[in-house]
């Protein structure tokens, strides 16, 4: 089936009244949740999953995609208005967005963010439409060894690219993988690490991990900051209008960062956070007067916003065409697919074209919604930030608990959720990143399966893993993804030391 024909079918799904309604619900709910302090796309998707049970899978996934980019947009809103980025992907937005809001131009900043997001999102959806089918066509020939190598790359990339210590990221990934081994082993039927508890036989549900490590752990921080009143005093948002000169300034960053952001989003491990930072830095480097950056520059706001939305769609390329998530957020998204009985991967486009193309087509609508609906509604939606912290804490707790209960109907999972909330809190206290954990947990089962399938097929010969150019190439990239940052860090610290020495003398 050609891309046009597929897209037509997708448009039928996305433009049905159900499709439009649920994209709208998804985008608005995502914006609401993403705007709340600490709750990012991972929590937003995880909280919304129970709502999709029993829904038509294509409509449900169209909604989840809406939640995803709605949450990214919501995060930028709180970055701009309060200098309180909901997620790391919008930290760079606050560099110039918040100064602009302080000048009384919050409305203008929000409009720039929305238009940049729209452009970034739309351009990258077009790219997604072109690249995802091409990648699926290549991936159809992949066997278990290549899949194993791909997932290995995904894990090492997220570990080396996540903020903070690489060794800590690797440790969390390993522990996440270990948690994934709990339950009945699919190939031999041995029950592993269940301690005779029948509730653990099927393994731990990914929602328990996602909501525990992200939403509940975040509650602990909200409890600590409950007396913080800063969210209450937001001023008037001001006019949303942009002048022609403003548009002219935005044009450069928008066109460049749409492509750069998309590419970074496709790469495993990179994602919205890195795309937004690289977008910001690269625009600052080529700007005529870089001194304006950090003081409310239009370019400085437009660049990260374009990039993070472009990366959001870019991240769908490996997810849809390979079935392999490249980041914590897409890992949870994969969980949402699996809950609905859809296995993304190279066969998705052939088997369930309405899902594949429906999601892509819905992204066009979703982006339009973000622009024309969310933007005028922002002054009202922003009121959610005024919800008192104690109330917010209780409500988020109930949402997380019910989200888990609605899939397992057992209180055992709820106690587990509480435990993982505590673990997530400890991880944050000691600066262990949580995203590698969730990615490793979701990839873990798939990785073990493909590893053992490859080895079983080869009669236990390890060489099968490095017997073809695709796998070897992927391993080389994984190793590079480690070595390059380490060498660069060394060089940077050496340069800094040299700097300090020259300053001291």
């Amino acid at each position: 089936m050609g891309a046009m024909e597929g897209l037509m079918q997708g448009i039928q799904v996305a433009f049905s009244w159900q499709g439009i309604l649920f994209v709208l619900i998804g985008v608005v709910a995502g914006t609401l949740i993403g705007m709340m302090p600490g709750l990012g796309p991972i929590s937003a998707i995880a909280i919304m999953i129970p709502i999709t049970y029993g829904m038509d899978p294509s409509v449900a996934l169209v909604m989840m995609a809406g939640v995803y980019y709605g949450a990214v947009f919501g995060g930028s809103t709180s970055s701009i208005l309060l200098n309180a980025p909901g997620i790391s992907g919008t930290v760079a937005t606050s560099f110039d967005g918040y100064p602009m809001a302080q000048r009384g131009e919050a409305g203008k900043a929000l409009a720039i963010a929305a238009i940049s997001s729209f452009v970034g999102g739309t351009v990258s959806v077009v790219l997604l439409m072109l690249f995802a089918p091409a990648l699926s066509a290549v991936a159809v020939s992949f066997g278990p060894p290549q899949y194993f190598a791909l997932m290995f790359l995904g894990l090492t990339a997220i570990a080396s690219l996540s903020d903070g210590s690489t060794i800590k990221a690797l440790i969390t990934a390993t522990v996440g993988f270990m948690v994934a081994t709990i339950g009945i082993d699919g190939q031999t039927g041995t029950s592993r690490f269940t301690f005779g508890n029948p509730n653990l036989l099927e393994g731990i549900d990914f929602l328990v991990i996602a909501l525990g490590l992200f939403a509940l752990a975040e509650i602990c921080f909200l409890v600590k900051k409950r007396k913080d009143q800063s969210l209450q005093n937001q001023g008037d948002i001001g006019s949303l209008k942009l002048s022609k000169a403003d548009f002219k300034e935005m044009r450069g960053p928008m066109s460049r960062q749409s492509f750069l952001g998309f590419i970074l989003g496709v790469l495993p491990g990179a994602g919205a956070t890195i795309a937004s930072f690289i977008g910001y830095i690269s625009e600052k480097k080529i700007a005529k007067n870089p001194k304006k950056f950090g003081k409310g520059s239009i370019k400085g706001l437009s660049a990260p916003e374009t990039a993070n939305n472009a990366a959001t769609s870019g991240a769908f390329v490996p997810l849809l065409s390979l079935g392999i998530p490249g980041s914590g957020t897409t890992a949870v998204m994969l969980g949402a697919f699996l809950v609905l009985g859809i296995q993304p991967g190279p066969l998705l486009m052939a088997d369930r074209p309405e899902v594949f193309w429906g999601i892509i087509a819905s992204m066009y609508i979703g982006n339009i919604f973000l622009l024309i609906l969310n933007l005028p509604l922002i002054p009202y939606i922003a009121k959610i930030l005024k919800i008192a912290r104690p109330m917010l804490i209780s409500l988020v707790a109930i949402f997380s608990l019910i989200g888990v209960y609605a899939i397992s109907f057992s209180t055992f999972d709820l106690y587990l959720l509480l435990i993982f909330g505590f673990v997530g809190y400890l991880m944050r206290l000691f600066s262990f990143p949580a995203a590698p954990f969730i990615l490793a947990f979701i990839l873990g089962g798939m990785m073990e399966q493909s590893l053992r399938q490859s080895l079983t097929a080869a009669g236990g010969d390890m060489m099968i893993l490095i017997s073809d150019p695709v796998s070897i190439g992927l391993y080389i990239v994984s190793i590079l993804s480690f070595v390059v940052p380490i060498i660069r860090n060394r060089k940077n610290t050496q340069a800094e030391e040299a700097d300090q020495e020259s300053n001291a003398s």
Partner: protein, 152 residues
């Protein structure tokens, strides 16, 4: 002996990995499978030990920001424990008295405990939020939340 935080965490991780490996070596073996179920867990256990050793010798000190984040006053710790206890109680009561009643109690107790003093708002939210959630889950989404002692 254990000077840095990294070293303490590292020891904990090594002990955790050792416990995990112990369980792994006690897994049932199948004679005719080329790759048995303990293959991957063994790799993971040893990998974690190696990584923990690296962490032990990791010299990078914490940034000020990280240190500040880790400082939790004792009083706050108690507050956190209390909230954890309330969630525990909520889970315990969920299937006994039902979703609506336990959520009402939880919202009132938790918000009051954390210092929210607007009674009217609290009660409005505590009544409306669980009811709307319950009705929409049960009747719109067809997901039965615990009914408990209420007749609907």
């Amino acid at each position: 002996m254990l000077k840095t935080l990294n070293q303490k965490v590292s020891i904990f991780l090594i002990l955790f990995a050792a416990g995990y490996l112990y369980l792994t070596y006690n897994l049932k073996e199948y004679p005719y499978v080329p790759v048995d179920s303990d293959f991957v867990p063994k790799i993971l256990g040893y990998l974690l030990i190696i990584l923990a050793v690296f962490l032990f010798f990791d010299k990078s000190s914490e940034t000020e920001e990280e240190k500040e984040k880790r400082q939790v006053p004792k009083k706050e710790m108690l507050v956190l424990l209390a909230v954890g206890g309330m969630i525990f109680l909520y889970i315990f009561l969920l299937e006994i008295i039902g979703f609506v009643l336990s959520s009402m109690l939880f919202i009132i107790a938790c918000s009051w405990f954390l210092g929210y003093r607007k009674l009217v708002t609290t009660f409005l939210v505590a009544v409306l939020f669980p009811l709307i959630m319950y009705l929409s889950f049960n009747y719109l989404l067809q997901i039965r939340l615990p009914q408990g002692v209420l007749p609907f």
